[in-house]
């Protein structure tokens, strides 16, 4: 029975499901990573995803334009990021708590807006699958990697771009420096608050796109609380990935592919109890974390309030 898992259909199914499931995590996690690298912990990702998800759904429903939907999600995410930045950077609120506050706000607001503006659950015409020319026709590989919708491709393209920005540009250097030693950066004349505002707003924008990827790309529907905790898992993936884009990619893919695997295990009737199968992605992620070489401790200034002396 376990040998059933080795057939082509199953392997294609697992990897392509894994790629789809990983998409929202990639957007949200990379966004959160930028924020955390500059020293700000944002636990409100789930709220940003929900509100972004609703915004994308509603705008796409009304205008029939998926890119307008994505823009709406980005705008909503940016606004929430702006608010989070103001609360943590200017008002010095404890980051963990204020993040939870934004989570609750995003959840409540998206529920309220959905009930008032839409009312019943309905579908929407979202992003369609795009087959990459030439590459999409390759027998097995094409099916797995090159037959997804635009947001999936963007999510994966985001990883090397984020790596480049973080490690090879001056902006990335500033971000990393602010997260390690904001006092030193401040003494050199770079605005710590400015960098943090930028990264937190960016995080909000990406969380919004993550939400949009759910409601107008992968699922084409909006339902209240549909993210079901994915925002929090995205934050955890930042830690798991060692605050590095490719680490996050590895974590997101590991988690999502094991999830896809456990679905196939259940469908093929392999006699593992459903409860155990559902636990698999979480257990394996913990195992990998414990067995891997130390991922480092993260940005030194993470969650610490920066106040300019004098």
């Amino acid at each position: 029975m376990i040998s059933d898992l080795l057939s082509a259909t199953v392997i294609i199914g697992i990897i392509s499901s894994g790629i789809r499931l990983a998409t929202p995590y990639l957007f949200a996690s990379i966004g959160e990573m930028f924020g955390q690298r500059s020293g700000v912990l944002n636990l409100g990702v789930e709220g940003q995803m929900l509100l972004g998800s609703f915004a994308a759904f509603y705008v796409t429903l009304e205008t029939n334009n998926v890119w307008l939907g994505v823009l709406a999600a980005m705008g909503v995410g940016a606004l929430m990021g702006l608010a989070m930045a103001f609360v943590t950077i200017n008002l010095h609120a404890t980051q963990g708590i204020s993040g939870i506050g934004f989570y609750l706000f995003g959840m409540g607001m998206s529920n309220l807006l959905f009930q008032k503006l839409v009312g019943t659950v309905e579908g929407v015409k979202g992003f369609q699958k795009i087959s990459v020319p030439l590459l999409g026709k390759i027998p097995v590989i094409g099916e797995i990697f090159f037959n997804h919708n635009a947001l999936v491709y963007l999510a994966f393209l985001l990883v090397p771009v984020a790596w480049f920005v973080l490690n090879k540009t001056t902006l990335g250097l500033k971000i990393r420096a602010v997260g390690e030693n904001p006092e030193a950066v401040d003494s050199l004349g770079v605005s710590v608050a400015g960098i943090r505002y930028l990264t937190v707003i960016m995080g909000g924008v990406f969380s919004g796109i993550a939400g949009a990827s759910l409601s107008i790309a992968l699922l084409n529907v909006f339902q209240q609380n549909m993210t079901a905790g994915q925002g929090f898992i995205a934050v955890a993936l930042v830690y798991f990935g060692g605050w590095k884009p490719f680490g996050i990619l590895g974590g997101a893919l590991l988690f999502s592919m094991i999830n896809a695997l456990q679905l196939w295990v259940q469908v093929l009737g392999i006699p593992i109890p459903a409860e155990l199968a559902v636990m698999m992605p979480y257990i394996l992620t913990i195992l990998v974390l414990t067995l891997s070489v130390s991922k480092g401790q993260g940005p030194s200034a993470l969650t610490k309030v920066f106040e300019r002396e004098g």
Partner: protein, 336 residues
């Protein structure tokens, strides 16, 4: 800056407090006037949202039916999204304290809360679903849906419609009415043809739409051509069935309109019958101790066939036959 902010927030809190107080109705009827038309007050606490197309929507629809019937005679309050049991317990206790006549705890996870709170409020009727346990308390009713019945009927239809002889089920967590439905469904499909392969996945969540959708995709890739599932997360799964041009069977609420070319039939819960009985019992002075079941016979469950999908006369006749058989006891749904 900090002082200004503190002052502003204090003023805001005071303003909100005053505002809330101002909204409390001050008009109280003079004590001498007899209260002839005191409306019945019902409160509901439920785990998901009113328009989830599933569990919570079913009880909300029932209350709307009652409201249409009773008009001014009924006043009801609804608290949704109480997935966390502690929050729900606080809401239940709050409603009881506010003097609501009937408090409905619509979620099998609320049992311990009801057991703890009910004795403190002997004047309040508590109804807990979906379950059969009243804890032996005098003011607790229990209600459930015999979802295996509707599941069986859906399963029979699915068994007759499938060409690949593979059927996929997307379940949430193996508990409560979800498990009953799935067990009934499997039995119904097998009664048509024991060789039909019904594959069941439990995804471990009631709300993870993305995972449910991938579960459906997995079933389809593995050859299923008819799908079903339970709980609110199936909206993504129904979408995948629609994309692939396959059939879906719905439960808990009427999902036919969501995907009119895909959903063949929905087993719909109608809780109003049970609620009417609870209200009548209360009027007669009985505050609890009864268990109710919503089934095909008493109208607590109805199979809504989707008028947009053409079903052969053979299938329609079989549906009638099976429903009649369940009602008169000649068909016994086997437990797994």
């Amino acid at each position: 800056m900090k002082k200004v902010l503190t002052l502003v927030s204090v003023l805001l809190v005071v303003a909100m407090f005053l505002g809330a107080c101002a909204q409390t109705p001050v008009a109280e009827p003079p004590a001498a006037v007899e209260e002839t038309t005191q409306p019945l007050r019902i409160a509901v606490v439920s785990p998901s949202s009113i328009n989830d197309l599933a569990f919570t929507q079913s009880i909300s629809d029932a209350l709307m039916v009652l409201k249409a019937e009773m008009g001014e005679g009924l006043e009801y309050a609804f608290t949704e999204n109480m997935f966390v049991v502690d929050d729900a317990a606080a809401a239940i206790r709050d409603y009881a304290t506010k003097g609501y006549d009937i408090v409905i705890a619509h979620g099998s996870q609320y049992g311990s809360s009801v057991q703890e709170i009910a004795p403190d409020f002997p004047e309040t009727v508590f109804a807990w679903g979906t379950t059969v346990d009243t804890f032996g308390l005098p003011n607790v009713h229990a209600y459930e849906a015999a979802s295996d019945q509707g599941g069986y009927v859906n399963g029979v239809m699915a068994g007759m419609l499938t060409k690949s002889k593979i059927i996929g089920v997307v379940g949430p967590i193996e508990t409560g009415d979800a498990k009953l439905y799935v067990d009934g469904f499997v039995a119904g499909a097998k009664s048509v043809d024991p060789d039909i392969d019904v594959r069941v996945t439990y995804i471990g969540s009631f709300s993870d739409v993305a995972l449910a959708s991938e579960a459906a995709t997995t079933h389809i890739a593995a050859g299923a051509d008819v799908l079903t599932g339970s709980a609110q997360m199936v909206v993504g799964a129904i979408g995948k069935a629609e994309e692939a041009g396959l059939y879906w069977f719905g439960t808990q609420a009427d999902q036919n309109a969501f995907a009119p070319s895909t959903v063949v039939a929905s087993q719909v819960y109608h809780w109003e019958g049970i609620l009417r009985e609870i209200i009548a019992l209360r009027a007669a002075g009985i505050m609890g101790g009864h268990t109710f079941s919503a089934d095909l016979q008493n109208g607590g469950q109805v199979i809504n066939l989707n008028p947009e999908i053409e079903l052969s006369d053979e299938i329609k006749a079989k549906v009638e036959e099976v429903i009649a058989g369940i009602n008169d006891g000649s068909i016994v749904i086997p437990k797994p």
